[in-house]
Amino acid sequence: MNYTVRDSTPGDCKDIMRLIVDLAEYEKMPNEVKLSHKELEADGFSSNPFFKCLVAEVPEEFKSKEGHTIVGYGFYFFTYCTWKGRVVYLEDLYVMPEFRGKGIGKALMSRIAQIGRAQGCVRMQFTVLDWNKPSLDFYSSQGALNLTAAEGWQLLRFEGEALEKLAQSAN
């Protein structure tokens, strides 16, 4: 089956949003998605984008059961490591179930790795849920190292009320 991996355009945001919700459902947290495709468009396609996104597209004759031709996406941005420099952060990677097993996930990830290297990035970083065995296995096979297991890093966050409270106590 043919597919292409390309840079997304503002017009792809509805499809990207659809896939974001699909992935959130797989991660058992669909109610956590608060963003709309309009915000995605504003945040991703202005002169100072907060993220970049690649999409995987199939020709019309291979469209999904529901008629979609955008069947996967790779969502990333650049971050910084004070020890080694530029990092490419893979925020989301997802391929619709009916299009798996054809190398689309790998193709999305490889292209992002290539883009990262072109920007001088020293590593690609991402998080995976500890129960997500298929993904854990896939990433290990690509040479990924589990830093939480190997070095004990824990991911923390301040959000909502906690963030507001902390901010209000600033002068």
């Binding site: 969502f75 080694k84 420099g85 970083q125 990924a144 004990g152 301040f158 409270k165």
Partner: protein, 171 residues
């Protein structure tokens, strides 16, 4: 002694920033991992599209450190993106020199950052902490941070340069 100011880092601060990065790495028992140079910090933080933002804590000359430094703390951050909720502020490094602790500098820096996060309409501030670093975990939890690794099972992964190169060369 409690006089200090918090200000945005300037190009002239890169040597102090690198010094503090190395001190923090030493505390994290990974000092030899710091490969970044002053030139990298300058190019990556003060160019047209900075990869990071930095605030520094500075004391007056009369309160300089035993080695003659007046820049005694720093926090490095950048903006990331969560496809479920939008913009986030990611706190990459946060450190105050040992002899200047206990005066509220760390607290002030964190409040300043959370204020920045709220002002720039970020939904959350994220960061990672080593699981053995109990004092830091307690410091953050006291201020309302949640530990996503234990609460939601997120595990941090990385794919290092050699594998990135390997991945990006096969398409």
């Amino acid at each position: 002694m409690a006089n200090f100011i918090l200000r945005k880092a300037e190009p002239k601060d890169v040597s102090d920033i690198l010094r503090l990065i190395k001190e923090l790495a030493k505390f994290e028992e990974m000092e030899d991992q710091v490969l970044l140079t002053e030139k990298d910090l300058l190019d990556d933080g003060f160019g047209e599209h900075p990869f990071y933002h930095c605030v520094v804590a500075e004391v007056p000359n009369e309160q300089q450190s035993s080695e003659g430094h007046t820049v005694v703390g720093f926090a490095m951050y950048y903006f990331t993106y969560d496809p479920w909720i939008g913009k986030l502020l990611y706190l990459e490094d946060f450190y105050v020199m040992k002899e200047y602790r206990g005066y509220g500098m760390g607290s002030k820096i964190l409040k300043h950052l959370s204020h920045t996060a709220v002002k720039t309409r970020c939904s959350s501030m994220h960061f990672i902490v080593a699981e053995w670093n109990k004092p830091s975990i307690e410091f953050y939890k006291r201020r309302g941070a949640s530990d996503l690794s234990s609460e939601e099972g997120w595990r941090l992964f990385e794919i290092d340069k050699q594998y990135l190169v390997k991945m990006s060369s096969k398409e």
